[in-house]
């Protein structure tokens, strides 16, 4: 037996010793190993099974003591035994405790993963679908990232994006689709009768607009209907599009009302969204904005049902959002809206152009009765007052409070208004509706609160009511469209009542935290940006609603009130709208009255009605006495200001004063004593009396002497509040300097033109 034979024996023994104690080995070709032919079974050294010491412990295996000996050396000689033993005794020296390297993971419900769970993956990888039907990075068979080349790719920062590895896994961890629908449908609460009707309506109508008033549970009806269709196999995958602020609300409702459906909210960075879009879910929830951003990257044909919550978002077919939605063409299309018609009947037509193409045409706008007839099979609307008893809702009491601006507010308001009108006039034909809206917004902010002094008649009223009229146990919602200019500043003043601010500036998590804090803690007031919180939220813990300012659209205000006045509200809800008199708010209020009338007539009753009261550019410009620049001038007898005679000029000023609200007395045309008009009006602060002198110098300049004369008259009359000198031309600089700081108001030709337009006075 040479050395190579020894090594053979050793290898056999070394491998077998720890596990078995074989007594012999067969060597079919033993001739090649041993010189004696015929022997094919030989004894091998009988090693004892390694004995573990008594204190052996798997946790601390270093304590292991292994002893082994050869009890049947067989044909081996002593040298063989020594060689084997010397090898075995080295084993304990190599042994170490098994190392645990830690753990990681993710809580999908709380959306938090352990740190460092991001992975850089090339974006393009997610755009490829493999032959196994999965995104390539997710397919274990053909993942391109296993290769060395992927390591190179991952180092290229420009082409790679950070994704959470556990987000990648989530689709794989989902239960198989359609595997868990055999149980009876259970719902968390019994549906109301009218809701059952709504569910049936949706299930039976592939093209439907559910226009129940807010607070009636439209989303729940849609979820239950969608659940039925998926379980019936009529729908494989649905898409719900809604405003961003209510994505979480939809998610929670799906969790409660359709727990067996796999629902995913599409959000996060682009890569994460792409994964979600392509992952196997029953329902994707997405905001309008996100859909618009992602529309080119998603497999739009995968959806056979789409639900558009607040479908009025697509009322303008030319917006990018509406265009994106039109690219999705599922068989079943449902729209949800408590206010499908906000302004014009064309909006309803635009909505149906998606829900039920070719049902309506824009020509139908002239015939509301025909519109009503055509959409009635696909339209269902129930008002809260109709189902109030079933919902066991309390009453809704609406109230308007008209307040007088405080001194600093009034001064600031008038100044801003006058300067604003002058600025608008400077734009001439280039003026746009945005210029007007900007001025309106600025004036409304002053009506809410004067920024320099902090004076606010509305805040004063609100605090007074909170201290004296509202039970301390009751909670209050305050809506405004100006979270930065109004809500944030007044938040400090309301701190003693316990106040939270809900605005679009907050992240979704913070928004939820604010709502949770308001519902559960001692906070009594929730200040809400009407844009961020006017839709979808359920805040029935509050039963007082204050509109600190009023949105153009009454439907928006109704929706905001619907946060508190909805299913689950058992108390009487008090809605108070704060207005200021003699301001732009009063003018807007008149417009809103007409629009509210329109809304009720068209949507609630779908009856024929006059459409003359629609909001138009003319209405907007008219708030400041301006004419829409696009509108051709009317064929009237008006003539340029410059063409008026001095008497016609005086008559025009007289007419203007009456239009403003003054009682006017004209003096004799000659020997007028330096006064052309006396004007008087009653204000809350007392009677305002003016003396007015008119100087029709179309191309001239009024010098300081005319101003001095008028000031002399003013000084001699104790009953006159102020003197006004009006010209169709300009004033000299010395005249302006003289009037400065005195009760003298100088109105030049440019300013006069603006005022005339504002009060719709035409030179004739």
């Amino acid at each position: 037996m040479d050395e190579s034979d020894y090594s053979l024996w050793f290898k056999i023994a070394h491998r077998l010793i720890p596990l078995h104690t074989p007594k012999c080995l067969e060597f079919p070709n033993l001739d090649t190993s041993f010189s004696e032919p015929g022997i094919n079974i030989v004894n091998i050294p009988q090693l004892l099974k390694p004995e573990q010491s008594k204190n052996f412990c798997p946790v601390t295996p270093k304590q292991t003591n292994i002893s082994t000996s050869i009890i049947s050396p067989g044909i081996l000689n002593a040298n063989d035994q020594i060689g084997i033993l010397s090898e075995i005794t080295e084993i304990p020296q190599l042994f170490e405790k098994i190392i645990f390297n830690g753990k990681t993971g993710k809580d999908y419900r709380n959306k938090e993963s352990d740190k460092d769970e991001t992975l850089q993956l090339p974006l393009d990888a997610f755009k490829e679908i493999c032959i196994h039907g999965a995104m390539k990075p997710l397919c274990e068979y053909c993942s391109p990232l296993q290769s060395e080349s992927s390591k190179k790719k991952s180092t290229n920062i420009k082409n790679s994006h950070i994704v959470n590895i556990f987000d990648l896994l989530l689709p794989l961890l989902q239960p198989p689709l359609g595997e868990n629908f055999d149980s009876n449908i259970s719902i968390p609460q019994k549906l109301f009768n009218f809701q059952r009707v709504g569910v049936k309506f949706l299930v039976e109508k592939p093209n439907a607009l559910l226009a129940d008033e807010m607070g009636t549970g439209k989303s729940i009806q849609a979820i239950v209907a969608l659940r039925f269709l998926i379980r019936l196999g009529k729908v494989k995958k649905g898409l719900v599009i809604c405003p961003k602020s209510i994505l979480s609300d939809w998610d929670k409702k799906f969790w409660d009302w359709a727990p067996e459906l796999q629902t995913r909210v599409v959000r996060g960075n682009k890569d994460t969204r792409l994964i979600i879009w392509k992952s196997p879910n029953h329902v994707c929830l997405v905001s309008y904005d996100t859909l618009r951003q992602d529309i080119d990257d998603i497999p739009i044909n995968q959806f056979d049902l789409v639900v558009l919550d607040e479908i009025q978002r697509i009322k303008n077919p030319d917006t990018e959002t509406a265009k994106a939605i039109r690219m999705i063409q599922p068989t079943i299309r449902w729209g949800l809206s408590g206010t499908p018609l906000e302004n014009r009947i064309e909006e309803l037509i635009a909505i149906y152009s998606y829900l039920k193409p070719n049902l309506l045409h824009y020509d139908d706008a002239n015939n509301p009765i025909d519109v009503k007839r055509k959409i009635s099979p696909y339209f269902l609307r129930r008002r809260l007052k109709d189902v109030k008893d079933e919902l066991e809702l309390g009453e809704k009491v609406k109230n308007e409070i008209w307040l007088e601006l405080k001194d600093a507010q009034r001064e600031s308001y008038e100044k801003a208004k006058e300067e604003g009108i002058v600025e608008l006039n400077k734009h001439g034909e280039a003026i746009t509706i945005q210029h007007v809206l900007a001025l309106i917004g600025y004036l409304k902010q002053i009506c809410n609160r004067e920024s320099l002094t902090g004076e606010s008649c509305k805040l004063e009223y609100l605090i007074d009511v909170l201290e004296n009229d509202i039970d301390e146990e009751e909670k209050v919602l305050v809506f405004s469209q100006y979270p930065e200019k109004t809500l944030k500043p007044i938040q400090h003043d309301l701190e003693k009542f316990g106040v939270q601010l809900y605005s679009g500036q907050l992240t979704e998590n913070k928004r939820n935290a604010v709502l949770g804090s308001f519902e559960n803690d001692q906070n009594r007031i929730l200040l809400i940006s009407i844009k961020a919180g006017g839709l979808g939220l359920t805040i029935t813990s509050a039963n007082h609603v204050f509109h600190f300012d009023h949105w153009w659209n009454p439907a928006i205000a109704d929706q905001a009130e619907g946060r508190a006045y909805r299913r689950g509200q058992t108390k009487t809800v008090f809605v108070t709208t704060l207005f200021t008199i003699n301001t732009i708010e009063e003018d807007i209020h008149k417009l809103l009255a007409n629009k509210r009338h329109l809304f009720q007539d068209i949507v609630d009753d779908l009856s024929d009605t006059s459409l003359s009261a629609l909001l138009s550019e003319d209405e907007l410009f008219g708030l400041f006495g301006l004419r829409s620049p696009k509108k051709p001038k009317s064929q009237s007898t008006e003539k340029p200001l410059e063409d008026l005679s001095p008497y016609e000029f005086e008559d025009m000023i007289s007419k203007l004063c009456r239009e403003i609200g003054y009682a006017v007395r004209e003096t004799k045309r000659s020997r007028d004593g330096g006064v052309d008009l006396y004007a008087k009006r009653d204000l809350v602060t007392g009677t305002e009396s003016l003396i007015i002198q008119c100087k029709h110098y179309p191309n001239g300049v009024v010098g300081v002497e005319k101003v001095r004369e008028l000031y002399g008259v003013l000084a001699s009359r104790q009953d006159i509040s102020r003197a006004v000198l009006i010209t169709s031309g300009q004033f000299s600089s010395t005249a302006i300097d003289f009037a400065s700081g005195k009760n003298l108001k100088l109105i030049n030709g440019d300013e006069l033109k603006g005022i005339l337009i504002r009060y719709k006075i035409s030179p004739q």
Partner: protein, 186 residues
């Protein structure tokens, strides 16, 4: 409202190529939707350690090293833990909820082991009332023989809609992706 019950599916996955083990725990709700997923980094016994641990190697890694850590790390309170390897029943000593070992009925031929020290836990067959899934047999740790009885109602309810062994396939798929995508799991 839906009762919030959470089930943990605990497994120890062996990577034959890498000679390593990954412990994984998937927490699902009554609809089998994933709620939480925890996984260990690879445990790699050496060529020396493997024979020396012998038969206790996988129980030691599965229970002491991985299972215990995973159970402790979950955020949701588990109502029942289901394992697919009998030795993982030992995790029962570290958690205060029933732990059951689920097998497909009829798939495993039982061979009594003379070396077995502990008596086997009580076995109970569960049928899917929907008839969609093959029956399963559940058993519990000898430490807590009543577990299979106390967990039976919960498991039966879950088994109406969900194949109790299916989540282990999901875990295996997910671990496959982890190993292929993330160097730390190789």
């Amino acid at each position: 409202m839906t009762t919030e019950k959470f089930f943990g599916f605990l497994t120890l996955n062996r990577n034959e190529n890498e000679n390593s083990y990954l412990g994984a725990l998937l927490v699902v709700d009554v609809m089998s939707r994933p709620i939480e997923f925890r996984v260990t980094f690879p445990v790699k016994p050496t060529a020396i350690q493997r024979p020396l641990y012998g038969d206790v190697l996988e129980p030691y890694i599965g229970v002491e090293l991985c299972g215990k850590q995973l159970i402790e790390s979950v955020d949701h309170k588990l109502d029942c833990v289901i394992v697919n390897q009998e030795y993982l029943l030992e995790i029962r000593k570290d958690i205060n909820c029933p732990v059951i070992y689920a097998q497909r009925a009829g798939e495993v031929i039982e061979i009594s082991s003379t070396e077995s020290i502990k008596p086997p836990g009580k076995k109970t067959q569960i049928n899917s009332t929907s008839g969609r899934f093959q029956p399963i047999v559940i058993s519990s740790s000898p430490r807590e023989p009543e577990d299979s009885i106390s967990a039976k109602e919960m498991v039966e309810r879950l088994f109406e809609d969900i194949d109790l062994l299916e989540p282990f396939e999901r875990i295996e798929n997910a671990l496959g992706v982890l190993v292929s995508q993330d160097e730390r799991f190789k």
